[in-house]
């Protein structure tokens, strides 16, 4: 029997993987994908709990998150293209102008 706890565990693992990826990888696209992974793990939590509690509120939030994620993807990718045109790189270590 697959209970809500299993869903939570999967989503926690996915979230951790995403976080780990954001912190360790240097390629901006990979970091971006890791962020998507984190968002979707949250979505999974929402869906699972929504089902478990018999309430539609969580699913409503999921739609919001998906919308925001889509917008974010558009903006983020545009930034990266723009950055690549300037620096010919999408390595986040090269994004270092904003420092002391």
């Amino acid at each position: 029997m697959i209970t809500v706890y299993h869903y939570m565990a999967v989503s926690a693992i996915l979230f951790s993987l995403g976080t780990f990826g954001v912190l360790t990888r240097k390629n901006a696209i990979v970091i971006f994908m890791c962020i998507e992974l984190m968002l979707n793990s949250v979505n999974l939590t929402f869906i699972a709990l929504s089902r478990h509690l018999g309430s539609m509120d969580g699913q409503v939030f999921v739609f919001f998150i998906m919308t925001v994620a889509a917008a974010e993807a558009a903006v983020g990718l545009a930034l990266m293209i723009s950055f690549y045109r300037n620096r010919e790189s999408i390595d986040v270590d090269d994004i270092n102008l904003l420092k002391w």
Partner: protein
């Protein structure tokens, strides 16, 4: 009937604004001087109308409210004017003498830089002075009081490029500030004391009507009147605040005549007259006023004996004569004090304008010969009576008047004061003695001035001596008018024992009568005493004149021998009893040192230290904190995760 009173201060204000704003563009001296003179002359015409209207009126006190100024709680302050015999006489003096001096200034200030500025200030002064004397409440009076102080400052510092003039202006302003502080304290105390009895007012008529609420002779009324007297001391140059007036002679001579002789410096006397109801209730204050007045009269006269600058002698003479007025106020002879104020305005304005005419001529001579001698030093003068006959005659007439020779104006007013200081129940024979000695000295130093300036050998540099002309008509006409007034001005107050009706005394009855009656002030004495006192004071004056004649005409070597014999005494008097030096040592220098300490010690070290310290702290803190801003996305992301973990951990583990 009296609702156009506001016109009187209005005209000079308009003149001042026009000249102040447009004078630089008008440039033409005749137009600028004309505007100012016409403005004040119009005021004089209006004043005359109201003065004679008041003379014929049975009701002697009239108020005219123009607008409401402020209304705070139960206190209502209006821009209101008060016309009674006292203020009517004052506006006549201010506008009359003022008009003459404006006319005089056109000739005297000819060719000066900032001609328009001078006339703008002069008109502004007249406006302030008229507000002072016409105000129906203490606040309007205070506006005028501060206004004349400001104009005095501006006009003393008229030649501001000269350091001594700037210093003198500052000195006058600061010393006056001490007096103003007293005035305000007195006003606050009076306001709250009357208020606590249920009468919230600062209007003079209401204060006079409610004065009985204060305890007669009590501590409160004594303190109130002493505070007011401090204000009067500052404005009217009495001991201990007289030191600014002689320095004020740095201003142009017409200013000395108008502000520092005829009008502004008499504001203190006027104020005591206005508050006579309160002063009469405080015998202690009256005694202080009389003593200070008599002491000032004598003290300033001694300094006048040894000065060589023609304007300084007149300045000390002014201080001395103001002392007489305060002596009169202090012994309850209010009408005599104001009477002397009036006659003094005539003869002292004439004397100052005459000295201005002399300086003008001397300056002309030196200018012609390209010399830079001091045109105000009497040691450079002598024998001028043939060069400037009109100036000489008017000057001589005024000198006789101030010396108290019978038939001239000063005799009547001064004698009235001396009689009251002897015979009044608030007076004392010692006050009379001080006054009489001062009168003798006045006669001496004034005739010394005349003899040194107009008689004997001409001591002017040979290259300049033949180029000293009589002054132009704009200068001599005011001199002649004032000279005539200096002779006849006294006949409004011929005392009863000389067969006169003492009109001025009856004229002031509605203002001072009640205060005098309520507080039982009166002068008693037999006719024989009165005649004897009169004879003595005339005798002293004649003796003073004789002495001056002996020393400066008959035997000009005498003063030198005298100085050689009493070197120490002469040096002390010549240096004005070292009062300025004593004040410097006692007050000015400690204050400066305190200021330096506050600047170097408190301001630079403590205040700046705190401010700069805060800045440095922020600087150092941000130096350390900026290392957290690495610019790497990973570091920021890591921080976010750590922060998240921390917050989540806090909620889970708590």
């Amino acid at each position: 009937m009296y609702d156009k009173l506001w016109l009187i201060p209005f005209f000079p204000l308009v003149g001042s604004i026009i000249n102040g704003l447009l004078g630089k563009k008008i440039k033409n001296e005749k137009v600028i001087g004309g505007i100012s003179t016409v403005a004040i002359a119009l005021s004089f015409v209006v004043s005359c109308k109201y003065f004679f209207q008041l003379l014929g009126d049975t009701d002697k006190t009239h108020e005219s409210i123009v607008a409401s100024w402020m209304s705070v709680g139960s206190l209502q302050v209006d821009w209101g004017f008060l016309l009674d015999p006292l203020s009517a006489l004052m506006i006549m003096v201010v506008t009359g003498v003022g008009s003459l001096i404006h006319l005089y200034s056109i000739g005297y200030m000819h060719g000066e830089e900032g001609f328009y500025r001078f006339f703008s200030y002069l008109n502004l002064f007249c406006f302030s002075m008229l507000m002072l004397v016409l105000g129906n409440n203490a606040l309007v009076m205070f506006v005028g009081w501060e206004g004349v102080g400001l104009c005095s400052y501006l006009l003393i510092g008229y030649y501001f490029e000269k350091k001594s003039a700037g210093d003198a202006a500052k000195k006058a302003f600061v010393v006056n500030r001490i007096g103003d502080f007293g005035f305000l304290l007195g006003l606050f105390l009076l306001f709250w004391t009357l208020g606590s009895k249920g009468v919230w007012t600062i209007q003079f008529t209401e204060i006079a009507a409610n004065a009985h609420l204060l305890e007669s002779g009590g501590v409160i009324v004594t303190i109130i009147t002493l505070c007011f007297f401090l204000g009067a001391c500052g404005k009217s140059a009495q001991i201990p605040l007289f030191t600014w007036l002689p320095d004020a002679m740095e201003g142009p001579t017409p200013v000395s005549a108008l502000i520092h002789a005829a009008t502004m410096v008499t504001a203190g006397v006027y104020m005591i007259g206005r508050m006579c109801g309160l002063f009469a209730m405080a015998p202690t204050t009256m005694m202080v006023v009389a003593t200070v007045g008599a002491a000032t009269a004598l003290f300033a006269a001694t300094i006048g004996l040894a000065q060589n600058d023609i304007k300084r002698v007149l300045a000390y003479s002014t201080v001395s004569q103001l002392g007489y007025m305060f002596l009169a106020m202090g012994v309850g002879a209010f009408s005599a004090g104001i009477f002397h104020l009036m006659t003094h305005a005539f003869f002292k304005a004439c004397l100052f304008l005459g000295s201005g005419s002399v300086i003008h001529g001397m300056h002309h001579g030196y200018h012609h010969a390209h010399l830079h001698d001091d045109p105000q030093d009497m040691r450079n003068m002598g024998g001028l009576r043939k060069k400037m006959p009109i100036t000489f005659i008017t000057f001589l007439v005024s000198t006789i008047a101030i010396s108290g020779i019978p038939l001239f104006s000063g005799f009547f007013s001064k004698d009235e004061i001396l009689w009251w200081s002897f015979g009044s129940n608030r007076g004392h024979w010692s006050l009379w003695l001080l006054g009489a000695i001062a009168a003798g000295m006045t006669a001496f130093y004034m005739f010394r001035l005349v003899f040194m300036t107009f008689y004997g050998e001409q001591r002017t540099d040979a290259r300049a001596k033949d180029h000293i002309p009589e002054s132009p008509l704009t200068i001599t006409i005011p001199l002649m008018v004032l000279g005539v007034l200096a002779v006849i001005g006294g006949y409004v107050g011929v005392p009863a024992i000389l067969g006169g009706a003492n009109h001025i005394h009856h004229y002031f009855e509605p203002v001072f009568g009640e205060a005098i009656k309520l507080n039982n002030i009166s002068a008693h004495g037999s006719h024989a005493t009165e005649y004897a006192l009169m004879a003595i004071s005339v005798g002293i004056a004649v003796f003073g004149i004789f002495l001056a004649w002996t020393m400066y005409v008959k035997n000009p070597a005498l003063p030198g021998q005298f100085v050689a014999k009493f070197t120490g005494l002469h040096r002390v008097i010549f240096n004005k009893w070292y009062v300025d030096e004593i004040y410097d040592a006692l007050f000015v220098n400690p204050t400066k040192r305190l200021g330096t300490f506050l600047w170097r010690g408190i301001d630079v070290r403590v205040v700046d230290g705190i401010v700069n310290g805060v800045g440095k702290l922020v600087n150092v803190g941000s130096m350390l904190l900026r290392y957290t801003q690495t610019g790497y996305v990973h570091n920021y992301a890591f921080m976010m995760v750590v922060g998240m973990l921390f917050i989540v951990g806090f909620y889970i583990l708590r």
